[in-house]
């Protein structure tokens, strides 16, 4: 049987399981129910110092069911696909629902919002690489980093990951949808040493298709270059300064935005962007959108985790917040409609500006280029932001020296309002696409 045929058969099996789960729930008296089943297998290999270090064969599966007895809800999940275990799981969910309270906002998403077309989003491209070939690729990748410079003194190695799987979701509205997907990556992390101090950096490439991956030598070399650039890092004094978040870490700021405009933060009044719908939160040159249906996209999906059809939407238009990101529960609580964001966002992007990173550095003049963030110091209720950072000090648009052991602090609301420019050096390895981001001013704490 071909790989494609095998997947079709497997998908039919998982769809049958979803049907069985929903049927079992109905038999136990549930007024409605929803279920998701997934199955994934893959290979993770790590190579270090020119030889294989670990080979992990992964095979994960799981199913989850949520039952509703009118307005009472219960959920259960398991990794055990034996028929009796599946029955036990549905029973456990029903048992939970005996004790939860009536919640007027709970339930399935509205039936008229279910996805009716399930386009092939071109997400499944298995990679039939043997462990031996993967090891060779890892060795090539790591060697490119190690031979770059004799200051590269040690290595954490190179990693090759290839996973593919199936995800099926269905509910008692009669909706059922599923699709196979794949994801492959190659990464490298090496250590450099200078004057007794060690630094580490890494690089990786990721894609739905193995052919989309960057060349192994290029990945290794980039990891090595990045490590070398950090050697001789030092602390700087405490100051107020403009800051650029380099594109590979800038997605974190957009994740903070997503968190703040997500339904669960809003109805809990746990967001610094409460009551900001229709108001400017960025300068008027900023556009942020979601495009869930991009073929082959890392975040693509035609329906959200409740079966609601996804659609293109403008989140920030000319700096103004146009929509919250809601699933059906938070939408009902807020008296609004689901935006097909139950379970998160699908391909978020900020429209690139005209300059590359070099251009942004010139625009900044003197300031800090941030290339690594540490810790979780973000208060989503107030927007207060204080995190560890490393990067480079920049003068007259030119990188001067690497910087470490500092923090950067501010308030996200002000940082968004002070987003002066977006680079065109788009980071494409993530569900969130962004160029480097220039922020007018933040507080750096150091010596």
């Amino acid at each position: 049987m071909s790989e494609q045929n095998q997947m079709t058969t497997r998908q039919a099996q998982l769809e049958q399981m979803v049907h069985d789960l929903l049927k079992e729930a109905k038999q136990l008296g549930a007024s409605s129910a929803e279920a998701a089943v997934s199955s994934d297998s893959g290979l993770s290999i790590n190579v270090r110092k020119g030889d294989v270090e670990t080979i992990e064969h992964t095979r994960d599966q799981g199913l989850g069911i949520t039952v509703y007895f009118d307005k009472r809800k219960g959920s259960a999940s398991t990794s055990d696909f034996k028929p009796e275990a599946i029955k036990d799981t549905v029973r456990a969910a029903c048992n939970i629902a005996r004790y939860t309270n009536e919640d007027p906002y709970t339930g399935l998403a509205d039936a008229n919002r279910m996805a009716t077309e399930l386009p092939d989003l071109d997400l499944y491209h298995p990679w039939d690489i043997t462990p031996e070939a993967a090891i060779e690729l890892g060795i090539t990748c790591e060697a490119a980093a190690l031979e770059l410079d004799n200051r590269i003194s040690n290595t954490e190695g190179a990693g090759i990951n290839s996973h593919s799987g199936l995800h099926v979701y269905g509910n008692s509205h009669g909706f059922i949808g599923g699709y196979p997907s794949s994801r492959h990556s190659l990464s490298c992390s090496v250590i450099g040493e200078q004057d007794g101090a060690m630094q580490r950096d890494y690089w990786y490439t990721v894609g739905r298709k193995s052919t989309e991956l960057e060349d192994a030598t290029a990945v290794g070399r980039e990891a090595g270059e990045r490590t070398l650039a950090r050697l001789g890092s030092r602390k700087i004094s405490t100051r107020q300064t403009p800051v650029i978040f380099r594109s590979d870490i800038a997605g974190g700021l957009l994740r903070n935005l997503v968190g703040a405009i997500s339904g669960s933060s809003l109805y809990r009044k746990a967001s610094f962007l409460l009551d900001h719908l229709g108001k400017p939160i960025f300068p008027d040159h900023i556009q942020i959108q979601e495009n869930p249906l991009i073929p082959g996209g890392l975040g693509s999906a035609s329906f959200d985790s409740e079966g609601v059809a996804t659609y293109d939407k403008q989140i920030i238009r000319d700096g103004v917040l146009e929509t919250y990101l809601l699933g059906s529960y938070s939408a009902r609580k807020l008296g609004m409609q689901s935006t097909a964001n139950a379970g998160g966002t699908h391909n978020l992007s900020i429209t690139p500006g005209e300059h590359n990173l070099e251009g942004l550095l010139k625009e900044m003049g003197n300031g800090l280029l941030i290339t690594e963030m540490m810790g979780q110091g973000v208060n989503m209720v107030t927007g207060d932001y204080s995190r560890g950072a490393a990067g480079f000090w920049v003068e007259n648009g030119e990188i001067q020296f690497p910087v470490e052991e500092i923090t950067i602090a501010g308030n996200l609301k002000q940082m968004f309002a002070q987003l002066l420019a977006v680079g065109n050096d788009e980071e494409r390895r993530s569900n969130i696409r962004t160029g480097s981001l220039l922020i007018e001013q933040m507080t750096v704490a150091g010596d």
């Binding site: 919640d103 009044k269 204080s386 500092i406 507080t443």
Partner: protein, 480 residues
């Protein structure tokens, strides 16, 4: 007390009609190539959680997991496969996959012998069954009421109760055959307060390897509710935090996350075997001020980070990492210990059967010193007093670490004065403890809330410390 290996056998092997001879057979198959060591890790777990929000029990979840992980090691190479089906054919198949790490070689033979752990640090109970569903719900409602009655400014209360029952069994080619039954409960209260258009949050919780009675005893859960509100109200008054390097006094207990990030991760065996840690090759060197003694102790009865045996079947230990300022030892699992020519310290841990064991911390804390906490604060002219923290992170290679304060105050002329907003503190692991100038006599461990992440695997841990004065630490506020 019932025998944990017997419970493990009945839970994990009996339903699949697996005998110990079957395990010998799988092990023999594993050892038929150039495999030095191999192990099987059986696990069955049940997890239950309940969430109260907006005054109602909004959600509950029940999770059933089981499976077996098969690991084969040849020199520095590890092969790993797992299956969620506990049955002989799946085990043999996983074994064939895992042993492919070595391509040719000699035969090996193992006979498993039961090893009894020296002591059980927690009762082999199923914590999910230690309270009825009605009682769990009543407890959550009480927490909601308790939080709301503290102050009219409380707008939102989210309270949760979680219990996990984990039964594991380890069979290894060194003859190990051990089982463990691990209860774990956790309770948390999160509140949002609002006044004059300003909102803030506070959070408190605890847990242990016990039943739910833990939360009733000493009114612990109600205290979490009161504490969450207190923290939120303090933060409502907080001003901008200072920015720059200054004297910092860390409170006792949970601020011990400092030790976990600054010292702990850098002393894990794998990073030191590979030479990627800033502490590599520094045993015997002075890495902390005199008087600083730090241990990793998996042997504390009932604590969240404790283990009767680790996930390789090794009884946990109390390992002295730093003694009177000198670096003494690393934390080891079997694999890294073997390669470094030493023994496992009982720190081999894994998130589940589907993950490889790694050297991990248990309960990491600093032993108490001489100073009264009041005396420590009085000794500081100007600085920061930080008593509650969120998460932290470390780069073990450069040694730089962060941890984020969620409740902190200014110290002005030896007195704790105004509360300041949350701020991240950053320092260098091999240097920060050399800046410790006073150690309190008030050692406390955290309330049982810690979770540590490493290479994508989460495990429960504990931390603790007495009040500490650190002369130079960078505080990441906005007030430059």
């Amino acid at each position: 007390m019932s025998d944990t290996i017997e419970i493990a056998r009945n839970t994990l092997l009996a339903p699949a009609s697996l005998s110990e001879q079957d395990l010998d057979r799988v092990m023999d198959q594993l050892l038929t190539s150039q495999i030095d060591t191999a192990d099987l890790y059986f696990q069955a777990s049940r997890l239950e959680s309940w969430v109260l929000e907006d005054g109602i029990i909004r959600d509950g979840n029940y999770n059933i997991e089981q499976g077996v992980g098969v690991r084969a090691i040849s020199g520095e190479k590890t092969g790993f496969a797992y299956t969620d089906e506990i049955a002989l054919p799946s085990l043999l198949e996983a074994g064939r996959t895992a042993r492919a790490i070595a391509r040719a070689g000699a035969d090996g033979k193992t006979r498993l012998s039961r090893t009894t752990p020296p002591r059980q640090l927690y009762a082999p109970i199923n914590p999910l069954e230690t309270m009825s569903e009605e009682e769990k719900i009543t407890l959550l409602r009480k927490l909601d009421a308790e939080a709301r009655k503290q102050d009219p400014r409380v707008q939102q209360v989210i309270a949760s109760l979680v219990a996990a029952h984990d039964v594991i069994m380890v069979a290894a080619s060194d003859g190990t055959l051990s089982g463990d039954v691990r209860p774990l409960v956790r309770c948390n209260v999160h509140v949002i307060v609002e006044a004059d258009g300003r909102r803030e949050q506070g959070s408190s919780g605890g847990g242990a390897r016990q039943g739910f009675q833990f939360f009733i005893d000493e009114d612990r859960a109600l205290e979490y509710a009161r504490e969450a509100v207190r923290q939120a109200l303090v933060n409502l008054e907080a001003e901008a935090a200072p920015a720059g390097t200054m004297t910092v006094v860390l409170g006792s207990g949970w601020p011990g996350i400092l030790l976990h990030e600054a010292i702990g991760h850098g002393l894990e065996g794998d990073f030191n075997r590979k030479g990627t840690s800033a502490f590599a090759g520094r045993i015997g060197e002075k890495v902390a001020a005199s008087g600083c003694t730090v241990v990793d102790d998996g042997t504390l009865p009932g604590r969240r980070g404790s283990l009767s045996i680790d996930d390789e079947g090794t009884p946990s230990e109390c390992t002295t990492l730093i003694e009177d300022g000198l670096l003494k030892a690393y934390m080891q699992d079997k694999h890294n210990a073997h390669l470094m020519g030493t023994h496992s310290t009982g720190n081999g841990r894994r998130e589940s059967y589907a993950h490889l064991p790694l050297p991990r911390m248990t309960n990491t804390y600093m032993l108490p010193g001489q100073h009264d906490p009041g005396e420590i604060i009085a000794s500081v002219k100007n600085g920061l007093y930080a008593v509650n923290f969120g998460g932290g992170q470390v780069d073990i290679t450069s040694g730089k670490f962060v941890f984020s304060a969620s409740e902190a105050y200014l110290i002005e002329n030896g007195k704790v004065t105004r509360p300041v907003r949350g701020a991240t503190l950053i320092g260098s692991g091999p240097e920060v403890l050399t800046e410790v100038s006073m150690i309190g006599n008030d050692l406390a461990l955290d309330a049982g809330v810690g979770t540590c992440g490493k290479e994508g695997q989460s495990v429960p841990v504990g931390v603790g410390q007495p009040t500490l004065r650190i002369d130079n630490l960078t505080v990441g506020g906005t007030n430059a």
